[in-house]
Amino acid sequence: METLQFRFEQGSRPLAGMAQLVGVVGSGNLEVLIEPASLGGACEIEVRTAAVGFGATWQAVMTDFHERWGLADARICINDMGATPAVVSLRLDQAAETLTGGTP
């Protein structure tokens, strides 16, 4: 397992509502827990992944996600079992939709 941390400052979209979980920790899939948190306007993402050595790919996928959504005061935690970047992006969008009620 490998744990990766990401933090994006100065988001503009706050979350509304209780913590939500989307996805399932199955082969090629992941679960995303999203919840509001006081982070000075930042969005923090913690990834625990079974696929070791893909930090650069995660960085790119997370940067894209932040550019799409710009979440503020959001904590996202991921348990991953080898999902592809496309599946990760899809789940992140799904999670963000549940607590913003909107689209990117």
Partner: protein
């Protein structure tokens, strides 16, 4: 019609309980994850593969759980089992109208060895405690991973088991039987044989499940509401007389089916007309045809 099979555990809860009524206990945000999987450097899940809580079913307070077959085949680890047990005990404390278990599990999570085995035995005990407190316990089995091993036994500790044809219920799974006894005994790649043997129709005819429904969330929900009402009209608890009756049924069943290798032969022996046509029947047509021939008698 909305498939039950296709849904995740978290999607099944609002499809079965009254919309918006379910209040989860130990939700994912509590992050109570398996300490054993972390020690093995394996992926964990924030809910350890099970949703537990309390909601309304047809307006009554019913406790419930849904196992996530997608996470390690729904296998029961220490935390997963403790969540089920805690929910069942709370249902007793709060005098719940009933407990509804949406089961989908391969049984004990072998990574957790004894802790998982103990967890499953505690689940069985808690189910029987709930029944002893006269709280109906109803199990729904309709997920793609079936209900096997310790959870197969647990399902049969419920008052009523409701299945779809696609649902499967047994002790040892097909691969386990083939590994232990050889492909001549059971070919786990013969999918028609697997469903004939472990699927809902065979379980209904053998008396191991009480209701067969189409793979539809509304049908499962309606059957659960009806089952709870039926149980509450009598008593939910085990009785010596009931156990003796069941033991006699099992002994008779074993005698009646001795030497029969395929479920179709068993159905013929039970008197089912045109047993070869059974796998192709829709759930409602099957129930009409099969009810008089169940090994467990008509419900």
């Amino acid at each position: 019609m909305s498939s039950y099979l296709e849904l995740t555990a978290r999607q099944r809860i609002p499809a079965i309980f009254d919309p918006g009524s379910f209040e989860e206990l130990l939700p994912p945000s509590a992050r109570v994850v398996s300490p054993h999987l972390a020690q093995l450097d394996a992926p964990v899940s924030f809910d350890d593969g099970v949703v537990v809580g309390r909601g309304l079913l047809d307006g009554r307070v019913v406790f419930g759980a849904a196992q996530e077959g997608g996470f390690m085949g729904g296998a029961v680890g220490e935390v997963h089992g403790a969540k089920l047990v805690g929910m069942l005990r709370r249902a007793i404390d709060e005098r719940a109208h009933a407990v509804l278990l949406l089961l989908e599990s391969g049984g004990v999570r072998l990574h957790e060895a004894n802790a998982g085995l103990i967890a499953v035995s505690e689940v069985m005990r808690a189910m029987l405690d709930a029944r002893a407190a006269d709280i109906p316990v109803v199990a729904l089995v309709g997920g793609a991973n079936g209900c096997f091993g310790g959870m197969g036994i647990s399902a049969r500790c419920a008052n009523t088991v409701i299945m779809s044809e696609e649902g499967r219920l047994a002790m040892s799974g097909p691969e386990v039987i083939e590994t232990a006894n050889g492909v001549e005994e059971f070919d786990s790649r013969d999918r028609a044989l697997v469903w004939r043997t472990t699927g809902g129709k065979h379980r209904y005819l053998l008396g191991d499940c009480q209701v067969l429904v189409p793979d539809d969330t509304a049908a499962f929900r309606a059957a659960a509401v009806q089952a709870i009402a039926d149980i509450r009209a009598g008593s939910a608890s085990l009785t010596l007389e009931g156990l003796l009756d069941e033991q006699a049924m099992l002994a008779r069943r074993l005698l009646d089916t001795a030497g029969l290798a395929d479920p179709v032969d068993v159905w013929r022996q039970l008197g089912v007309p045109d047993p070869g046509a059974v796998p192709m029947l829709e759930a409602d047509a099957f129930m009409q045809l099969a009810a008089p021939y169940r090994a467990g008698g008509q419900r």
